[in-house]
C-alpha cells in the first residue's frame, strides 16, 4: 500500500466528528501579482495539490504574469531579495514541534541554515487552506509538500544561475545558501539570484527528493527553532495577545448543559462605568476595561436557567448501550468489518472468552485555556485564537455572523497545547460577539472551570469483545463492538480469519470530540487487555501468544525490541508486575512494556518503569520524537490510572485542577524508549500512536502483580481495592 493509500484508509477510519460539519472550502482566488505586492520581489514556489490546469506550459522559470494561482494549494514559499525564506502552511504549532521539523525539511532540500527560514503558520489570510492539524498528518503530508516546494525552489535557483553563467544546470551545486559552479569556482548567493525577480514556479509532482539515507539536517535533533523566546517568556500565546483600547470579556454561563435562559436582570452591570452587556439568545456576556471589572459585572448579572434532567456518570455505560444507534455508522463504514463466519468459528473453537471494557470521559486540560482576541474593522473581523483548525474557525465565525469567509481572518499564534481538544472556535465567536457590541477589540480567556465544563471531552465508551481460540493458540473468531467512543483503531492487526467488528454511535450525555489518538486508546485498551486475558486463560506467555497471532513485521519488530529492552521474562518480586500493550495507529507502530508496584497494604499502584518501542518510518528529528514518546506515556498514564470526569444532571462535579487529578512529577516513572529508524519507509507522525499501548500495559501489569483484572479506565482512581 502506498503512503497516500494508507493515509486515505487512516483518515477514513474516523473522520473526526468535529470535522463532519465543516467541509473543505476552497474559496481560494489569489492573483500572483498580489503576492509579490505583499511579499516583495523574489521567487515564489507553489505546491499544487490537484492542479488540472496545463501548469507546466511555460516550463521552468514561471507562469505568465497576471495569471491566477491554482485553487488547491498545499503550501507556498517565498525567497526574498535578501535571501530570506518564508514558508506558508495552514498547519499550526501546539507543542508538537512541527515548526522545527518542517524547518528541518526545508533546510535539507534548499540547503540554507535554519535561521534563514521563517514559517508563517495557520493564518487564514496568508496561508493556504488546511483542514486542520490533527490525525498525525503533518509529517507524512505537509513535511513532504514543503520538501517538494524547497526542492523545486532549489532547482529554480540553479536554473537561474545556469542561465546567468551560460552553463549546464546539471553541473552546478546548490549548498549553504548559494549556487556554485565547481568548474569555474564561481558562486552566487540565493539572495542575488532572487533580486529583482517575480518568478512563480508551480510544482511538478515527480520532483525528486533527497532520500532519508542521505539526509544531513533532517534526521538530526535540531532544537526547537525559537526555544529562546519560550525560556525568556517572550513568546506571545493567544492568551498574551493585546490590541490598543482592548476590553476584557466574560461570559455568563448556564447552570447546566443544554439549559435555556428564562429570566435575566443585567441592570447592575449596565450601570458600571465602561461595561458593555450583551444578550443574544442564550448568549450573555460582558466586556469591560479590566478583567476584574468584567468578572464583577458578570457576577452581578442575575440569570435564571431551565434544563431538563440529565444522566450522571453513575449510569453512563447503561445510557451509552441503551441509546446506541441501530444500523449504519454515520462516520462511514470504516468502523464495520465482517470477514468469514464468526458464529461458525466461535462454535467450533476449543476455547471461548467474552469480556466488557469501559472508558470514562476525560478532559484534555491544555495548560493554556481557550483564548481569543477579536477586533472588527467595519464588517471585517480578525481573531487571534488557539485552535487546531484556523480555517474551520473562520468558517464557524462566517456562519455565526453571516459573513462571507473573506471578511474573516483567523490567526493562530503558537499555542499552549491542544491534544485534539482545540478543534472548535467557541472562544473566537464569543470574543467576536462581544467586540461587535463594544465596538472595541475584546479579549476573552476561559477560566480553568470553563475549560473543564464548556470545552468537550474524550468520548466515554463500552467495548464488548469475544473470541474463539483453537488448541494451538490460534485465534479463529473475533467479535468486537464499540459503543460511543469511536471507530479509530477498532480493526485488529492480529491475523484472524473470522471477524465481526462494529462501532455503534450512541447519544452522549456530554459534549465529546477528538482526543490524542481518538478512540484508538479505548479500542487498544480493550483489545490488548483482552489479548492478555486470552493468553492467561490458555496459560500461555502473553508475548508468545501475541506473536503467534501476528504476521505484521513492523509490529512484531516493536514488540520484540521493547521486550528485549524491558527484559521480558525476568523473575518478579512481591508486589511487582509486568505487562504489555501495543498496536498500530496513524502509521506508527508501538509496543509498551510496563513495570508496576502494588503496595499490598495500601493498595497504592505506582508505575515504576515504562519501555516503549516505536517505529514511524524515517525519523525526522530523533530528540523531538523521544520527547513525543515520553509525553504520550505521561499523558497516557493519567487516563489509564486516575483521570475521569464526574458529572450529574448537566453539571461537571470535578471541573477544577484541585479536583481533577493530572499526572505530576511524583507520578512519572522511569521512561525508556527504543526508536526504530526505518530510513526505507516514509516518515509518519508520532503525536498520537505512542499513547495507545499505555493503559492496557498498565492494566496487564496490575493483573500480573495481583491477579486482579481491571476492565475500566481509569483503572485505579482510588488505589486498588483488593477486598
Amino acid at each position: 500500500m502506498s503512503t497516500q493509500d494508507l493515509l486515505k484508509s487512516e483518515t477514513a477510519l474516523e473522520p473526526e466528528r468535529y470535522e463532519l460539519r465543516a467541509g473543505p472550502s476552497y474559496q481560494f482566488q489569489v492573483d500572483r501579482r498580489d503576492f509579490f505586492k505583499f511579499l516583495g520581489a523574489g521567487i515564489l514556489v507553489v505546491c499544487v495539490l490537484n492542479d488540472t490546469s496545463p501548469a507546466q506550459e511555460s516550463g521552468r522559470g514561471g507562469r505568465p504574469a497576471g495569471e491566477a494561482l491554482p485553487k488547491e494549494i498545499g503550501a507556498w514559499m517565498h525567497i526574498g531579495e535578501d535571501g530570506s525564506v518564508t514558508l506558508y502552511t495552514g498547519k499550526v504549532e501546539v507543542g508538537q514541534n512541527i515548526r522545527t521539523s518542517l524547518t528541518q525539511a526545508v533546510c535539507e532540500e534548499l540547503s540554507v541554515p535554519p535561521d534563514k527560514i521563517t514559517l508563517t503558520m495557520g493564518d487564514t489570510k496568508l496561508t493556504p487552506y488546511d483542514r486542520g492539524t490533527f490525525g498525525s498528518l503533518t509529517t507524512p503530508v505537509m513535511n513532504l509538500q514543503l520538501r517538494r516546494v524547497a526542492s523545486a525552489a532549489r532547482d529554480v535557483l540553479v536554473t537561474l544561475a545556469a542561465k546567468q553563467w551560460q552553463v549546464d544546470a546539471k553541473s552546478l551545486i546548490a549548498a549553504n545558501g548559494k549556487v556554485t559552479d565547481p568548474a569555474s569556482m564561481r558562486s552566487i548567493e540565493y539572495a542575488a539570484l532572487a533580486k529583482g525577480q517575480s518568478l512563480t514556479e508551480t510544482l511538478p509532482a515527480e520532483d525528486p527528493l533527497i532520500p532519508a539515507t542521505q539526509w544531513k539536517v533532517a534526521g538530526q535533533s535540531l532544537p526547537k527553532v525559537d526555544g529562546c523566546d519560550f525560556v525568556t517568556g517572550k513568546h506571545r500565546y493567544p492568551y498574551d495577545q493585546k490590541l490598543p483600547g482592548m476590553l476584557h470579556g466574560k461570559i455568563v454561563r448556564p447552570t447546566a448543559f443544554n439549559a435555556t435562559l428564562v429570566t435575566l436582570d443585567t441592570k447592575e452591570a449596565e450601570q458600571m462605568p465602561g461595561v458593555v452587556v450583551v444578550r443574544d439568545g442564550n448568549f450573555v456576556g460582558v466586556a469591560a476595561p479590566t478583567v476584574e471589572l468584567a468578572s464583577k459585572a458578570a457576577s452581578s448579572i442575575k440569570a435564571e436557567w431551565k434544563a431538563d434532567p440529565q444522566p450522571s456518570n453513575k449510569e453512563l455505560f447503561e445510557v451509552l448501550k441503551k441509546t446506541a444507534a441501530e444500523g449504519a455508522d454515520p462516520t462511514g463504514d470504516a468502523g464495520h468489518v465482517t470477514t468469514g463466519s464468526v458464529d461458525q468459528a466461535m462454535a467450533a473453537a476449543d476455547h471461548r472468552l467474552q469480556q466488557t471494557y469501559t472508558v470514562s470521559y476525560i478532559a484534555h486540560v491544555p495548560l493554556e485555556p481557550r483564548a481569543a482576541l477579536a477586533g472588527w474593522d467595519g464588517d471585517t473581523v480578525t481573531v487571534w485564537t488557539g485552535t487546531q483548525r484556523p480555517f474551520g474557525v473562520r468558517a464557524d465565525l462566517a456562519e455565526a455572523f453571516r459573513l462571507p469567509e473573506d471578511r474573516v481572518r483567523v490567526l493562530m499564534p503558537d499555542t499552549g497545547s491542544a491534544y485534539g481538544g482545540k478543534h472548535t472556535g467557541e472562544t473566537a465567536i464569543e470574543a467576536a460577539r462581544l467586540a461587535r457590541a463594544a465596538k472595541r477589540p475584546v479579549k476573552l480567556v476561559w477560566t480553568r472551570e470553563e475549560e473543564f465544563t464548556w470545552a468537550y471531552f474524550r468520548p466515554a465508551g463500552v467495548m464488548d469483545v469475544s473470541a474463539g481460540v483453537s488448541k494451538d493458540a490460534t485465534i479463529t473468531a473475533w467479535e468486537f463492538h464499540n459503543y460511543n467512543s469511536g471507530a479509530a483503531g477498532i480493526r485488529t492487526y492480529y491475523d484472524i480469519p473470522n471477524q465481526r467488528i462494529q462501532f455503534h454511535p450512541s447519544h452522549s450525555p456530554l459534549r465529546q470530540g477528538s482526543y490524542r489518538a481518538l478512540a484508538a486508546s479505548a479500542n487498544h485498551f480493550a483489545r490488548e487487555s483482552f489479548m492478555d486475558e486470552l493468553a492467561h486463560s490458555l496459560k500461555m506467555d502473553p508475548l508468545q501468544f501475541r506473536l503467534k497471532n501476528l504476521k505484521n513485521e513492523r509490529l512484531r519488530a516493536v514488540f520484540e525490541a521493547s521486550a528485549k529492552k524491558f527484559g521480558w521474562g525476568q523473575p518478579k518480586k512481591p508486589g511487582q508486575g509486568f505487562g504489555m500493550g501495543g498496536g498500530y495507529e496513524k502509521l506508527g507502530n508501538v509496543a509498551t512494556f510496563v513495570e508496576v508496584y502494588v503496595d499490598p497494604k495500601s493498595g497504592d499502584v505506582s508505575v515504576k518503569r515504562v519501555v516503549t518501542a516505536f517505529e514511524c518510518g524515517a525519523i525526522v528529528n530523533p530528540d523531538n520524537l523521544r520527547n513525543q514518546l515520553e509525553g504520550a506515556n505521561i499523558m497516557g498514564l493519567g487516563g489509564a490510572l486516575f483521570e475521569a470526569i464526574e458529572f450529574e444532571n448537566g453539571k461537571v462535579l470535578n471541573g477544577r485542577m484541585s479536583q481533577y487529578r493530572v499526572p505530576r512529577f511524583r507520578d512519572v516513572p522511569v521512561l525508556e524508549t527504543v526508536m526504530l529508524d526505518r530510513k526505507d519507509l516514509p516518515s509518519a507522525g508520532a503525536g498520537e500512536a505512542p499513547i495507545v499501548g499505555v493503559a492496557p500495559a498498565i492494566g496487564n501489569a496490575i493483573f500480573d502483580a495481583t491477579g486482579v483484572r481491571l476492565r475500566a479506565l481509569p483503572l485505579v482512581p482510588n488505589g486498588l481495592k483488593t477486598s
Binding site: T232, L367, R448, E449, N627, G631, S658
Partner: protein, 162 residues
Amino acid sequence: MSKITKLQVNGRIQTIDADESDSLLSVLRDQIDLTGSKYGCGEGQCGACTVLVDGYSRRSCITKVGRVADKKITTIEGLAAGDRLHPVQQAFLDEQAMQCAYCTSGMIMSAVALLNKSAHPSRTEIVDFMDGNVCRCGTHPRVVAAIERASRSMAGATKESR
C-alpha cells in the same frame, strides 16, 4: 479598599493602579505587560504563574498584590542578564525541556527558587519541590534533567568566580 500604586519588579519600580486585592498575576500581565507568567488554574494548583517574591516561589494567581507591595518581585522576564540567559533557562534549552512551553516560565521560576534554597538538590528533592508545577505535554523527565544540569553549571560558575 486601599490602592497600590508602586511595585518593584525585576529591579525596577513600576507605577501601577491596582486595588490591594487584585491578583499579582493580573497586575503583572495587564498593567506592566509582563506576559511571561501564565494563568493555568487560578487556584495555585498548576504553577504556571510562578514568580519569585524576595527569592521564594509564589503562585501569583492567588497572591494579592497588596501583600507584596513592599517586596522584590522577579518574573521570567527578569532572569536573564541582558542577552545572557540564567543557567536554569540555558539548561531548559540544553535539555529541550519543553513542548508547547506554556508551563515553562513557571517551571523555570520554581526551579530557580529550589536552587536558591538548595544548591544541589537530590532527585527526590527536585521531584517533591516541582510536584506543584503541572506540565500536560509530559516533559517532566527533561525538566528534572534540566534542573540537575543547572545545579551543576551554577556550581561550576561559583567555583570559577572564586
